[in-house]
């Protein structure tokens, strides 16, 4: 039934599964290097749920990284999540259906490979999250079982024999290990390129390009092996993807999966009712807030950020301060920008942007509490990013307004009036009219009422605050009616 699975099986491995040898046990080890694809029948439902559950874990791992959680914290959080969505018990566990747990783990991984092999960015993120997951599992694996797992495959390392070990005794001991246990300690030799993390920290003895890795750092080799294999396989899958005439039903599922990852599915916020009151806005909520409550200028910044994955300096400043006043804490702001600039690595982000974010929150430099830019400042800023009502060409503005506020009830007949106001140079008024038009339904705002008491928009934050207030009041009314 699953052509994809069969094809990829044909691509990646000729010898059938690691099965049979182990007395009918298909998955002898808890850990899996995912060398062989699943080549059995799978129901469409299983196909989707196994992937969705795994995706939750991976998204949690990603957001742990964005939130700068320590390794221990990340581990705890991930293990709790795994317990819930993707339990994977050790071979000695009693009463657990190990086979089916391992099967789901196996299947989920391969479904996500199909979903995430499609672009460079997806591959990179998937690779990072999967490797982290593997590390967490490897660390928590029981000693004896780990040994069995390691013995089950060839890592291509050379055990250092006694003569060679004794020859380099002094050198080896300046890095790691202790004199008294040296006789029993094991060392493995690999090319240094396979353990860059150990070389980076100067933790191994190097001779002629070979790294002498002590037994307790063996995991570095394993992780590196896992990562390079997965990276290679993802590229391979990507290359073969277009040639698979896949089942029509799968395309949609795979699309959904990759998009969910991009948006960070860990956030449950979009399902939850809007019960916040400005104080506790989370990074994941910004997308939704932008769609419902932002004035045109900030919508424009947000869309550009999403589209280009970058924003120029003034754009960041203006939009960042707006978000600050909106109620985004500095921690959430860092997460928000980190996730938005997903084309750069952590190093660059910390070096180039983190300081500026903290600065705008008054935590660096002269520690001033900078206010958000008001309409006057935005209007006179010279147009980059600027006020769309003033700085966009009329055609551009019309189409932008329609696409942005169409979902909130703005129609092309309304546009005529707005555009006339713009032509007259009354940019505030135009913005206020758009507010009135888009809040006539939910908030019951009438023409001329402005953002309350006939006031017109003079500050983007005022616009959003009022919009959120109206939405909240509406919500409360609705709940009252129900009870």
């Amino acid at each position: 039934m699953f052509k994809i699975e069969e094809r990829s099986a044909a691509i990646e491995g000729k010898d059938k599964v690691q099965v049979e040898l182990h007395g009918g046990l298909k998955y002898p080890h808890r850990l899996n290097f995912y060398d062989k694809p699943p080549i059995y029948d799978v129901s469409i439902e299983e196909f989707e749920t196994s992937a969705l559950n795994r995706l939750r874990i991976l998204a949690e791992i990603e957001s742990s990284a964005a939130r700068n959680r320590t390794w221990e914290e990340t581990k705890t959080v991930t293990e709790t999540q795994c317990e819930k969505y993707l339990p994977l018990k050790s071979s000695s566990a009693i009463g657990a259906d190990r086979e089916s747990q391992r099967r789901i783990d196996h299947l989920g991984h391969f479904v996500l490979r199909l979903a995430f092999c499609r672009s460079e960015e997806l591959r990179r993120r998937f690779l990072k999250a999967e490797t982290t997951l593997f590390k967490i599992r490897f660390e928590s694996d029981v000693g004896a079982e780990k040994e069995l797992f390691l013995n089950s495959r060839d890592f291509n390392w050379v055990a250092v024999d006694k003569a060679e070990k004794d020859k380099y005794r002094t050198e080896l001991l300046t890095y790691q290990g202790r004199g008294d246990s040296f006789e029993t300690d094991k060392y493995y030799k690999v090319r240094w390129t396979r353990v860059p993390d150990l070389v980076d920290k100067r933790k191994v003895f190097l001779k002629g390009g070979w790294a002498y890795v002590p037994g307790r750092e063996q995991s570095s080799i394993v992780y590196e092996e896992f990562e390079t294999r997965l990276e290679r396989d993802l590229l391979l899958t990507a290359r073969y993807m277009p040639r698979l005439d896949e089942d029509m039903r799968l395309g949609g599922i795979l699309d959904n999966l990759s998009q969910g990852f991009l948006a960070g599915v860990s956030s449950e916020w979009s399902d939850a009712p809007t019960d916040m009151n400005g104080e506790s806005i989370k990074a994941e909520m910004v997308d939704d807030l932008a769609a419902k409550h932002f004035p045109m200028c900030m919508r424009n910044s947000h869309q550009r950020l999403r589209k280009d994955h970058r924003l120029n300096h003034f754009g960041r400043l203006q939009y960042g301060l707006f978000l600050k006043v909106l109620g985004l804490s500095v921690e959430e702001a860092i997460i928000f920008w980190r996730k938005s600039f997903d084309r750069i690595n952590d190093d660059t982000f910390n070096k180039m942007y983190k300081y500026n974010i903290r600065h705008s929150y008054g935590l660096e430099g002269k520690r001033a509490n900078y206010p958000a830019k008001n309409c006057q400042q935005i209007l006179t800023s010279g147009g980059d990013p600027g006020c769309p009502y003033r700085h966009f060409s009329p055609e551009n503005l019309q189409s932008a307004l329609l696409s942005t506020y169409g979902p909130l009830g703005l129609t092309s007949t309304d546009l005529y009036e707005v555009m006339n106001t713009v032509k007259g140079g009354h940019f505030h008024v135009a913005c206020t009219r758009v507010f009135e038009m888009t809040h006539s339904g939910i908030g019951g705002v009438k023409k001329g009422e402005g953002i309350g008491g006939g006031e017109s928009v003079t500050h983007p934050n005022q616009y959003s605050a009022r919009s959120m207030e109206l939405a909240k009041a509406h919500e409360e009314k609705a709940t009252q009616m129900l009870t």
Binding site: T174, P196, D200, L206, K207, G208, G209
Partner: protein, 402 residues
Amino acid sequence: MDKVSPEVMLAFYRRLYPFKSIFHWLNHQPTPESLFVKREIAFNLPGDVIIRYNSFNDHDEFKKQVCKLNPTRFEIGPVYTSRPRDRKTARPGSFNPMQRELVFDIDMTDYDPIRTCCSDADICKRCWSFISAAVRVLDTAIRDQFGYQHLLWVYSGRRGIHLWISDKEAMGLTDEQRKAIVNWLTVVPKDESKRLNVRFGSRALPASLQTALDHLAVVFSELILYDQDCFASPEGYEALLKLIPDTRVVEALRSEWTAPSSSQDKWKSFKTQIKTYTKNSSQRALLTAAMEDIILQYTYPRLDENVSKKRNHLLKAPFCVHPKTGRVCVPIDPERIEEFDPESVPTVGQLLAELDTVAESAEHHSDWERTSLKPYVDMLEKHNLRIMEEVRKEKRGSDMSW
């Protein structure tokens, strides 16, 4: 006279620049391979204009274009998945750097806090000792620890030196691996106020640094204590005191050093202070370790790490002319690095003058043979032969499989 006027440069490219040797060096084989044809060459034109993503089919085409554009210098980039000049026709996302020599850059400016003879762009025979110490240490480390053999050291034309490593494994290193090797070789912290941190707890110096220390201890006494006399001035010895982790010793030394004395004497009194602690006491071990760290701090190679960390970093090609000094960026034999004198490197003006004295009617293609550039080109050619020999051997090895 302007040493490097466009006319001079053009004559240099036409008559002297060893295009063929550079081609062999980049290509590893006599006939054009992807190592050359997919290689990025970037031209620097006057007025800070850079033309990137040029690539050529062979050295003739390369030379023709150089003579046409007459750049002040040109830089060498990575080998890409496809020809850099055709990059716009490549599928989006599929134009990526694949291979590149592992390169290092040591620049005298990184030594400004410690050298006392010159500063900024200046360099003299005396400060060259810092560079030669660095070359000794790096050359040994890379050959011995990383096992690479094809190392080409090139004078950067003014106050530094470049290293190009052409071993197959080195060519293929990823950015992550390049970062790892840089961090392995970086010892002196960028932040001046920070102390060296290279040990694991109270362990002895890691073996790789112990080897370096054995050589650098000699350099330290000759260069830092004697020649540069780094601790003569109050600022100089205060910097030293900051690195000593024992307040009693620091106070004792400070009061002693208010009377002027040479760096050698100061170092001696520091050693005497260490000996006031009994043998095998932990304080003595700590101070001895600090003493070793100080030697490394003052003499260990300081790398410009950004050059090495990324595969796609551009680096000035050997035999280019430094626009300020007019000197040619010539290869240097690491075995004779101590004898090297930057002032004796031929300038482009001098080379052209040499050509005039042996004036003959027609222009030859390899006119460098009749100038003082010859020994340097020969050095590169010898280096190329070793690379090509290895490639040939490898090919023959794989052909045996029939």
